[in-house]
Symmetry: C2
Subunit: 300 residues, 2 copies
């Protein structure tokens, strides 16, 4: 089944302890859709400006990604983010953000997108996420991401969103900010009490926790020894996860666990290069191979 | 098989965000031996002073722990540690340390201890750990712990120790300090290059990583929603792990993984109370029950 993702498409500047890169293809929608494209057709909804290199769109299209929902607003600039990773490669500071075309992002979904069964609302203002959700005709699984900014400034609409979706994926720090609970077992239950029956808490290099009606599952991160740039790890985790779910339609606890493991493995490739560099080098077979290796590392 | 543990026996003062307690039974040797006592006879080597309450020794003996290696030095005070946990319950500061009798700790192992097959050298100065090791007659498995202080001040003797033991258990921050590597996959390999064929990196609430010749295994922590006092989590993790290994004698990769899982579960009980309070409430059956639950939470 195809899936729809609504998110940012960006040009990033990234500083790591050892390197600095500018004008990188980035954004939650870009990372998500590329990761999902290993498994299914991703329909991307986003916005860019005049400065958006046409070759990026062509590259996404060559992956089978439907870019008919990617709007170019003339006279605007593409969203730009500049960030710096600290020595531990887990924490980062945002140095600069220029919203550009994102400021006018008010997506109207193409007709074919509205009938999607799988919808991912990447990190955008909750009112925008709600607006997109209302355009869809009874999707089977809606998952959303969010961020500290919206938890602080758009709490009411975020709570409304959480009451309207099936699943949410958020960082441990965001879960703590949202619920006031630093203990992730308690925080996950508190998020579930706000509506989503599936909660996935991302812990960066420490893995992920899934809590649903039927399951509580803890999966560590794949221990790659080559962390080049963590940007997009969370979005490609979600892309692998949702892409696999959309491919299989298996929403059982076992299916969800496998999807989290797939997301974990895809994210581990993402961090091994800047932008989509590493993902562009690998195939579905590489993912399956690392998945098998990963599955051998966990469990008793 | 009985196992020998050489470590501290202490009276702790612990401050958590919600509570403060004084004169708690603590110390690496106490936590370790109690945790191990669910599985095997632990022979404890340690030192206390005049102020040591006799009832603590009796309680340990009632668990089947051999305390003939626990020396009382007249005129000395028992080692005291005072610490405060930060809001996240993972980080702590040491507020006060009074070595007392520990300053004169220079253990001579009882004859029966010297023939032990399983030896755990808890966090003590590396020259002391080496001195103990030299008294033993070819143990089957020697595991050691250490701390940031010895990595900084006793590096040479610590390196000598690492070259003489089978296994080491250390925190992620200690692994980084020892090797200069923040990436735990790389750090574990670097520690192994110093000698121990088994390296267990503890990541607190994020679980543990085991690296050996035959295996690389990642096990998350059990997600208890009742963290009262994290003191002793690492030592009781090691105690459960070694106790189980000494009971089964199974040093295969599968046996090691199960031992790590046992240690994880025992540690999850430890943090649910101050001192040994929670461990004193539970039975082997409770451990097995939580182990089964835990095993159901991990793996794909």
């Amino acid at each position: 089944m195809p899936l729809v993702v609504v998110g940012s498409v960006a040009l990033d500047s990234v500083i790591t302890p050892s390197e600095e890169r500018d004008d990188l293809l980035g954004g939650s929608g870009a990372y998500f859709s590329y990761a999902a494209s290993f498994f299914t057709t991703a329909r991307l909804v986003g916005v860019v400006g005049d400065d958006w290199p046409r070759r990026h769109t062509e590259m996404l299209q060559a992956r089978g990604i439907d870019t008919s929902g990617l709007e170019l607003i003339p006279g605007e600039k593409t969203f730009r983010w500049k960030g710096k990773y600290l020595e531990n490669m887990n924490d980062r500071e945002t140095l600069d953000v220029a919203l550009g075309a994102m400021e006018k992002f008010d997506p109207t979904l193409p007709e074919v997108y509205r009938k999607c069964e799988y919808l991912f609302l990447a990190n955008d203002p909750p009112p925008l996420q709600l607006g997109v959700l209302r355009q869809c005709e009874g999707p089977k699984l809606v998952m959303a991401d969010t961020m500290d900014l919206w938890i602080k400034t758009e709490r009411d609409s975020l709570i409304e969103l959480l009451g309207s979706i099936d699943a949410v994926v958020l960082n441990d720090s965001e879960a703590k900010l949202l619920t006031g609970e630093g203990n992730m077992a308690i925080a996950a239950a508190a998020v579930r009490a706000l509506g989503p029956r599936i909660v996935v808490i991302k812990k960066g290099e420490h893995g992920a926790m899934l809590v649903s009606d039927e399951d509580l599952c803890l999966l560590p991160a794949y221990p790659t020894d080559r962390v080049i740039d963590p940007t997009g790890a969370g979005d490609s985790f979600a892309g692998g996860l949702m892409g696999y779910l959309a491919e299989t339609g298996d929403l059982t606890p076992a299916g969800m666990r496998k999807a989290i493991a797939i997301g974990t493995v895809v994210a581990s490739f993402t961090v091994e290069g800047f932008s989509l560099d590493r993902l562009q080098e690998i195939t579905r077979e590489d993912i399956e191979k690392r998945l098998a290796e990963y599955c051998g590392m966990i469990g008793v």
